[in-house]
């Protein structure tokens, strides 16, 4: 009997401890895509609009808007948001490729997931070097 035809009247054991199951790399890329997106919505967008508005007012206001980014906390916030942006963009491009049926087999999907993670860390490192 095929799995889909089996009656489901008797309760089956459920084991869904997400922290105990070893997640495959594409699953990690997927959840990080979500987390980075949510973080940019909550923190990134208001911060971006505030920055553009205040930095355009005058040379003094430009310097004042830049000032928080020379503190350790400001640099960390900027670095995390920069990673979110770069990572989200790269994972998004991978997603578009998958939509076009490019690299959907298991092995290339794993490779591209690893590539997205590695490339985003590399780009974030470049941002970090520029910041410090």
């Amino acid at each position: 009997m095929a799995a889909a035809d089996r009656p489901v009247d008797k309760p089956r054991p459920v084991y869904l401890d997400l922290f105990a199951i070893r997640q495959p790399l594409p699953a990690i890329v997927s959840i990080l895509h979500r987390i980075s997106g949510a973080l940019m919505f909550v923190v990134g967008i208001p911060l971006l609009l505030w920055f553009v508005q205040s930095s355009l007012r005058s040379p003094a206001a430009f310097a004042a808007a830049m000032a928080p980014f020379s503190t350790l906390f400001g640099k960390l916030v900027l670095l995390i948001l920069a990673w979110c942006y770069l990572y989200h963009l790269l994972a998004g491009l991978r997603h578009l490729a998958l939509d076009l049926h490019i690299g959907i087999a298991l092995a290339p999907a794993r490779r591209s997931a690893a590539l997205v993670l590695a490339l985003s860390v590399l780009l974030a490192l470049i941002v970090a070097v520029r910041l410090w």
Binding site: A38, M40, F41, S55, L56, S58, P59, L89, G92, L96
Partner: protein, 115 residues
């Protein structure tokens, strides 16, 4: 035979707008990084001259409007998965919509308002 399992096509429309806005965001990001590298950084005079141009203002508006639509689809997807009680989800969706509409107003004020 034309087989349709759903009638309203909300899913397809959101799926498509998520991808179209993603492409607009990617293109603007490439443009912005090119400008940044071209100028070898950014000072206030260059920054202000950049935002004085109508084409750049329009491009920035298109970018931010795309960002808000993109954020709406993404956050709504997250809420559909994790905010299960209908009332809670609806309340959160209203908060998100209000925030994004307010951001759109703020964007217009930044780009075309008096400084």
């Amino acid at each position: 035979m034309d087989k349709r399992s759903v009638g309203a096509h909300y899913g397809l429309r959101d799926w498509l707008s998520q991808r179209v806005t993603a492409i607009v965001i990617t293109l603007y990001t490439a443009l912005f990084l090119t400008i940044l590298l071209w100028n070898g950084g950014m000072d206030h005079a260059t920054w202000q001259a950049l935002f004085a141009g109508d084409a750049f203002r329009l491009a920035t508006f298109l970018f931010l409007a795309s960002l808000f639509v993109h954020a709406w689809v993404g956050v709504r997807n997250i809420l559909m998965d994790y905010a299960k009680p209908m009332g809670v989800r609806l309340a959160l969706e209203i908060v998100v919509i209000c925030a994004l509409v307010a951001y759109a107003g703020w964007t217009i004020q930044i780009l075309w308002g008096s400084r």
